[in-house]
């Protein structure tokens, strides 16, 4: 066991799984300090400044083309605007004028002039304006660094390193992604920050939100990063090193074992088969999803495409994306979730809501923006010719929403027929169960839909009235609250009455501890991120469905979350070898 209390151990938020031991590479954004200095040779200063602009343009052009590669053209557009700043006639002329009239060093003038714009941005109440100010900071430092003819210091020459940084700008993340970075640690950032997304897509462990990581870790320190548990150990002692070396060995051995699982079904010892599907977030993940032996995509979040296109993508753009995935996956199924915009999601919907999580999001937003919804429905239908696409609606809370969606779909089908465009006449329609009212209405909804997918993140949040993002109440967000387990049980039993398939796609499905419980409750499938798939299979293949049903019944009578936790711990120690438990836990 690792003693968390030890003073070389730091905790953060696990953002991408894996364990690595390597030297730290401290990436401190060099803040170029500038002082107000008089100059004599104005012509030389101006030449320096112009050269710095050209150099900066070349650097950014490189970042831009890498970003197009890694993130897609639309998301890379951010860097295009940065390049334009280097050609901004108002800004550049003003700087040139001031160098001439004030006879001061160009660094000082550049800093002073660009900071004026940043001040206006920081004054704004909008969060994205503050982020924009950070992007401008990046440009400003780049120009100043180039005036001083300094090299970008963060070239990583030899060996694998764990990158430690305060936070990462989009440009940094893009550049680092092609170097020997085997782990990421940042002081700030949540699960959706750029570092986390890139790390997960590259299969590299990452821990974010490690307070003062850049203060506590020095360059070339030996660092252990445990992305399963969010643990960072700096200059480990022999005992800690041994512990993790053993763990790594087990992990490698287990990885080999898990590779063998790839083509084996997730079937319990007594023959109950669970479909293991994958959640799809980013382009790069499709490869590892297929490699890890997923049996299809249980949740494709389409909000991602927005980020890529910076706006609402049109029908052709969307159908190109969906068709591409559907073809690559064929004959495996692809479940496309309609745009779930609002709440904590990334797209800025410019309506100030006092309570966005209870506001205009999911199907509510879509039905109020019918044109947008129709564009997506038509794109999904057009991509469905191989008959492996399913369509899923988020945040459903009433019958009317399903009826209206059905109407829109049949209207779109009529249109396509009259346009002689082929599509899957039997496209399956499902709904997300994430609002308590939907959980209670399952029996009625089952008549109108083909499948259910339980979104536990929101369901738990809404059932327990706990905002996960609120630090004060976050420990009351309990996955194993008896009310949650009983609700899951109710949903599955009610759905079975009409033979409607039930899947589960929240974070709970990725919790190794929850998997026996979920299987025992009778789920038909779970949808998890690619890296979890082999582990989930391993657990399911060691279970006995008939036994586990009895265990689940016992959990259903528990009155507190702790009782359920204790039961699960006991179950694990009785049914799995110590090593298997050791494998995931600390």
């Amino acid at each position: 066991m690792i003693d968390i209390g030890k003073d070389n151990v730091y905790k953060g938020i696990p953002a991408a799984p894996g364990i690595k031991i390597a030297n730290a590479f401290l990436f401190k954004k060099e803040i170029e300090t500038v002082t107000d200095e008089a100059i004599i040779n104005v012509d030389e200063a101006i030449e320096n400044f112009s050269e710095a602009l050209e150099k900066s343009k070349k650097e950014l052009a490189k970042v831009f083309s890498l970003a197009v590669d890694k993130l897609g053209a639309k998301r890379a557009a951010l860097f295009e605007a940065q390049i334009m700043i280097l050609d901004d006639p108002v800004l550049i002329n003003k700087i040139l004028e001031r160098i001439k009239s004030e006879k001061k060093n160009p660094e000082y003038i550049v800093n002073d002039e660009i900071s004026k714009y940043q001040d206006i941005m920081t004054l704004s109440h909008e969060q994205y304006m503050r982020e924009r100010s950070q992007d401008i900071e990046d440009i400003k430092n780049r120009i100043i660094r180039n005036i001083r003819k300094k090299k970008w210091k963060s070239r990583i020459s030899t060996g694998e390193v764990i990158l430690v940084s305060s936070s990462l700008t989009p440009a940094d993340t893009v550049l680092f992604s092609r170097m020997n970075v085997t782990g990421y640690i940042t002081n700030f950032g949540g699960l959706t920050s750029h570092a986390a997304i890139v790390a997960r897509s590259l299969n590299v462990p990452a821990i974010v939100g490690v307070h003062e990581a850049t203060e506590n870790i020095q360059n070339s320190d030996i660092v252990i990063i445990d992305g399963f548990n969010g643990i960072v150990i700096v200059n480990p002692d022999d005992k800690q090193l041994l512990h993790y070396k053993k763990k790594l060995k087990k992990l490698e051995a287990a990885d080999l074992e898990l590779v063998k699982l790839k083509n084996l079904p997730a079937m319990t010892l007594d023959g109950r088969k669970i479909d293991i599907l994958a959640n799809l977030d980013l382009n790069e993940e499709l490869e590892s999803i297929i490699q890890n032996g997923a049996e299809g995509i249980g949740l494709m979040r389409t909000e991602q495409i927005f980020q890529e296109y910076d706006s609402f993508p049109n029908e052709d753009e969307q159908s190109e994306v969906y068709s591409n995935y559907a073809e690559k996956l064929y004959p495996l199924p692809l479940t496309i979730r309609a745009f779930d915009i609002g709440g904590d999601k990334v797209l800025p919907v410019d309506v100030q809501e006092p309570n966005p999580m209870l506001g205009w999001r999911g199907i509510r937003f879509l039905l109020d923006n019918e044109e947008l919804f129709i564009t997506q429905i038509r794109a999904v239908l057009k991509s469905s010719i191989h008959k492996n696409i399913k369509f899923m609606i988020p945040m459903v809370s009433s019958m009317r929403e399903i009826e209206l969606t059905r109407l829109l779909i049949s209207k779109c089908m009529d249109e396509l027929r009259s346009e002689n465009i082929p599509f899957d006449e039997h496209l399956e329609l499902g709904i997300m169960i994430e609002v308590p009212s939907a959980a209670l209405m399952i029996r009625d909804f089952a008549d109108d839909v083909d499948f259910f997918s339980i979104g536990t993140n929101d369901l738990i949040q809404y059932m327990l009235a706990v905002d996960r993002g609120n630090d004060i109440v976050t420990n009351q967000y309990q996955e194993f609250h008896p009310a949650i387990i009983r609700t899951l049980n109710y949903i599955i039993i009610e759905a079975k009455k009409t033979n409607t398939k039930v899947s589960l796609c929240g974070e709970m499905a990725a919790d190794y501890k929850a998997i026996p419980l979920l299987v025992g409750l009778g789920l038909d499938s779970i949808s998890v991120s690619a890296s979890v798939i082999p582990h989930a299979k391993e657990i399911i293949r060691a279970l006995n469905y008939s036994e586990i049903s009895g265990f689940v019944n016992a959990c259903l009578t528990c009155k507190t979350e702790k009782e359920i936790h204790d039961k699960l711990d006991k179950f694990y120690s009785e049914n799995f070898s110590e090593s298997s438990k050791d494998f995931y836990s600390n």
């Binding site: 557009a77 714009y117 704004s124 706006s311």
Partner: protein, 88 residues
């Protein structure tokens, strides 16, 4: 001189991509172009200037065009605003 009022109508507001496009359109014309909002008077040919505008959906901007081709410039810029920055 021409003065025009516009309202931002796309959902995402005046974010980085439309800011860049506005500046690119403006650069094609000779006339001067200023955007007024919240007491700021921003040169519409300056990307860094336009990026300082926090203009969400529904915000109102005052546009000023001044120069030999002001009519044509106003037409092109207003057209882009009225199309909701091609995001409707």
């Amino acid at each position: 001189m021409l003065e025009k009022k516009v309202i931002i109508i796309n959902n995402a507001g005046l974010h980085t991509r439309p800011a860049a496009t506005i500046v690119k359109i403006a650069a094609k014309f000779e006339s001067e172009f200023y955007i007024l909002k919240d007491g700021l008077n921003i040169n519409g040919k300056s990307i860094i200037g336009v990026m300082t505008l926090a203009a969400a959906k529904g915000s109102e901007l005052l546009l000023n065009f001044d120069g030999p081709d002001e009519e044509k410039m106003a037409e092109a810029i207003l057209d882009y605003f009225n199309k909701g920055f091609d995001e409707l």
